[in-house]
Amino acid sequence: MPDRLTAIPFECLVTEQHPLVGGKCASLGTMSQAGLPVPPGFAVTIDVFADAKQGSGLMPRIKDLITNVDTDDQTALVSAASRAREMVRSWRLSEEHENRLRQMYADLCALCGTEDVPVAVRSSATVEDSPDASFAGEHDTYLWVCGIDDVLEKVRGCWASLFTERAITYRNEMGYDHDRVDMAVAVQKMIRPRAAGVAFTLDPTNGDRSGICIDAAWGFGEGVVSGDVTPDNFLVDKVMWSINRRIISPKTHAHLLTEVEGSHCPRVSRVQLPDDQVNVPSLTDDEIVAIAKLARAAEKHYGCPQDIEWAVDDDLPAGEDAVLLQARPETVWSKKRHRVGAKTDATASIVDTLVNPLYARRRKLPA
């Protein structure tokens, strides 16, 4: 099988490869290619899934098991589904695929400068003839997966989640062939933000479209979103990339990762910050501009003002550490017009400018 693809880093994923990687990975690839850096990672293609399936020789038995199950008989369904998933988890990867995945994960660890970098392993399903939208989120996702052996196990876990009771019932009812469903998997770094927050691609104080307004705080962005920390605020010009406003707030608390006893999976909790961090800007100038550029790229990509969530990941190399977590359209100012409505006659307009000078106009505005 010389031409089989194993895995593709998100930033290398091109449109032609989307059928190989499923919906979730395709969207991460699209963002990455549009200059919207998402947390790094890679897609495990459906080739890996298909080859493992083929190699196992178990698919006829699985099909037999689940096609004929009476989906109204809950006990029978649970038992069939569970046996099917068990069989999927036993699938073996070809040596070539496995070696490539080990290498891909090792590269990700190297990029992050961490051994066994924690990742999220998410299902990214494809169904040849139907958009799987109605099923998005129904397949498994594993957070804080550490080490390649665990990653490989969770990849199989994602595959196996094709055979939950609900998935089986759904396909049987819709008349979809159980064999024509493929499963790719997204392996993506868990963010460990030094700072995080939100950004608007306009100035929410006055609707100025030339500004990008950033709220930032130490650690995770939860506090900025919920309002339980007072963030630093920056206004960046989206053409000149100059920082036109900085308000550094006292940040007494932050949402940070804390270890949970007896679990490898840490938790985000609100903690008090040491005094020497309280009044320090949570972003450097370079980071501020990088986040502004990321927000502007999202605005250009989606074609309207955006409200984004971002993070500066402590594990990523400087210059590549600003990542986009979420983007949605801005809804308040976007609906309003922002016309200047100046006189079209040049000399008449100049008279207006001279008689009612800008500096006088600006003075009259409330501070």
Partner: protein
């Protein structure tokens, strides 16, 4: 915070400068007869053009410039809300006061302005082409004026041609003509400038309304030209440096003194060819002042050849090191187009985009004048004028009226007329003039007064600050806004917190050791990686911008020379800090934030 500046009548005469008033035109002094008007007005020190105490003759350009500026506002274009800018000399320093039009007259002035300004805007390019001819003709006529010592006997030809008048008459007439031409020069200067600024301000206002947070320098960048005559002298130096290297004669610039370099150049064909290129560049481009062009003491390249030759030697070193001296014209054009396209796209509607295009178009039409006039007037024509005045000085020196040629600048403009009369009359009669017995001592006395005035530190403003500064040219030309006035009021005590604020004139943030420089003579003190702190900078300082990390000036706004050159060189600049040279000492570590206009003394 104080609510007013000192009254001009409270200002004391510096010790040793008693009688300073006699050095200046009677009409340019604060005086009891006009006290009520003068005390009710707001006066700011013009450190942009006249940072130092003036000598008597040097006030000529102050008076000619301000009267001409005012005349175009008040009498030619009838700028609806603004009369002229009044001017005074106090302790040798220049104070200006914008005069508003009476509010009740503004409306009736509008149609007059529309018709007159409309004509200039509608015919701008043709009129500007005519201007370039007018200014060259004027410089040519000035250059040809004869200001020479009077002969023992008139030439026989004066007799045989029946001309019927003599050299003394011509000397007096030439001086008077020189003054007339100097005033005409300043009329020409303001023929376009006020309107040019008005058009720019209109575009500026549009951008600020559409994008309240848009940086001033973004607006400047959209309008500013890439090929500007003000950069020509520096470009010519680079060209000459490259020529020296490519013709293999660059080692001759290692000599260290100009005479030796020139001697070596003249010794062969390649060297002579280089000199020919030098001469081509020198007229007119090296009629370039190392200062603002408003002081007789400003050095002019063509008369102080060691200055441009020193710069050429520096550039030669860079060429040898493989440094690309070319300004990235293509990239600058592309960047300007990008900035315009991006802001344009962010506007609300096609209607706004149409207005934006029209205003940007007009601004770009008027801007070549705004950017280029400075070379023609303050550099080229002034260089010729100073030369001609030195010719007058030589005439007076030859007749023992004065000791040094430059003593002529210790005479008032109108006095020179009387002095030449004295000289002429003595020559005509064949009997002693009064001058040789009178002027040397009087000039010594005046020099003492001037020295005392030079030590005085002029406060940034006098009188009662206006509620808002609205006069457009005050804002554009001098960078004086309501904000800077209140900053002066609050930081008059000396900025104890180690922070200064001014215009964010060129973006970027750097830290480094300060180098405080008060005049062009100190330029050579500047070392690599220092931050230049100066009252202001001049275009001819361009070659040092390759050495420094940032610039801080006391005076000037977004369009000041320091701002323009720093943007060109990609260096942070904060202009108009008022107290930079006062509060910062050479060697102190400072932080310059060209994004916010803040300067912080770190140690």
């Amino acid at each position: 915070m104080a609510d007013r500046f000192p009254s001009p009548f409270e200002i004391q005469t510096p010790e040793g400068a008693e009688g300073w008033q006699e050095l200046y035109t009677y009409s340019s002094l604060f005086c009891e007869e006009r006290r009520e008007y003068e005390e009710g007005a707001f006066w700011f020190h013009d450190g942009v053009h006249w940072p130092e105490a003036l000598t008597p003759w040097d006030t000529t350009f102050l008076e000619f410039a301000l009267a001409s500026l005012s005349q175009y506002n008040t009498r030619h274009y009838i700028i609806p809300p603004a009369y002229g800018v009044d001017f005074r000399i106090l302790n040798g320093y220049v104070y200006l006061s914008p005069v508003p039009a009476p509010p009740e007259d503004i409306e009736s002035r509008v149609p007059l302005f529309m018709e007159r300004a409309g004509f200039y805007f509608g015919n701008w390019n043709r009129l500007y082409d005519d201007w370039l001819v007018k200014i060259r003709d004027l410089v040519k006529e000035m250059s040809e004026l004869r200001l020479e010592p009077l002969p023992q006997f008139e030439d026989l030809e004066v007799i045989t041609s029946g001309v019927g008048k003599g050299s003394g008459n011509e000397l007096l007439a030439s001086y008077h003509r020189l003054l007339d031409l100097a005033l005409t020069l300043w009329q020409y200067h303001f023929e376009f400038l006020n309107l040019g600024y008005a058009a720019y301000l209109d575009f500026f206002g549009f951008c600020k309304t559409a994008f309240p947070s848009i940086p001033d320098l973004a607006i400047a960048k959209m309008v500013a030209g890439v090929d500007v005559d003000l950069f020509r002298p520096d470009d010519e130096l680079k060209k000459l440096a490259r020529l020296a290297v490519s013709s293999g004669i660059d080692d001759r610039f290692d000599a260290g003194d100009v005479a030796t370099t020139w001697e070596k150049l003249k010794s062969d064909e390649a060297g002579r060819a280089w000199i020919a290129e030098w001469e081509k560049a020198a007229e007119p481009w090296f009629n370039f002042s190392t200062g603002s062009g408003f002081y007789h003491s400003d050095k002019i390249w063509i008369e102080n050849v060691e200055v441009p030759v020193g710069y050429i030697a520096d550039y030669i070193t860079k060429v040898r090191d493989g440094v690309d001296l070319d300004r990235p014209i293509q990239a600058l054009h592309a960047e300007r187009d990008r900035v315009v396209a991006e802001y344009r796209e962010l506007l609300d509607s096609d209607e706004d985009r149409e207005a934006f295009d029209a205003k940007l178009g007009l601004s770009r039409t008027v801007f070549p004048y705004v950017e280029n006039h400075n070379f023609y007037v303050e550099h080229w024509a002034h260089s010729v004028l100073w030369r001609k005045m030195r010719d007058v000085g030589k005439v007076l020196k030859a007749a023992d009226f004065i000791v040094n040629t430059d003593d002529v600048f210790m005479l008032k403009r109108a006095e020179v007329s009387d002095v030449l009369w004295d000289l002429y009359a003595g020559w005509a009669v064949g009997a002693p003039s009064r001058g040789p017995g009178y002027w040397p001592a009087e000039i010594e006395r005046r020099r003492g007064i001037h020295e005392a005035l030079k030590q005085w530190s002029a406060p940034p403003a006098l009188g009662i600050p206006p509620e808002v500064v609205t006069e457009p040219f005050t804002v554009m030309l001098w960078g004086i806004t309501s904000d800077s006035v209140s900053a002066w009021l609050s930081s008059g005590e000396g900025g104890a917190d180690g922070e200064l604020s001014g215009f964010a004139a060129s973006p970027g943030l750097v830290e480094g050791p300060a180098r405080v420089i008060f005049s062009a003579d100190q330029i050579s003190e500047i070392e690599d990686g220092e931050i230049l702190v100066a009252p202001l900078t001049a275009p001819s300082w361009a070659p040092i911008f390759g050495k420094i990390k940032a610039t801080v000036t006391d005076v000037g706004g977004m369009m000041s020379h320091a701002a323009i050159v720093c943007r060109e060189y990609g260096l942070p600049a904060v202009t108009g800090t008022a107290f930079g040279t006062k509060n910062i000492r050479t060697g102190q570590l400072i932080r310059v934030d060209g994004n916010t206009g803040k300067v912080t003394v770190l140690e």
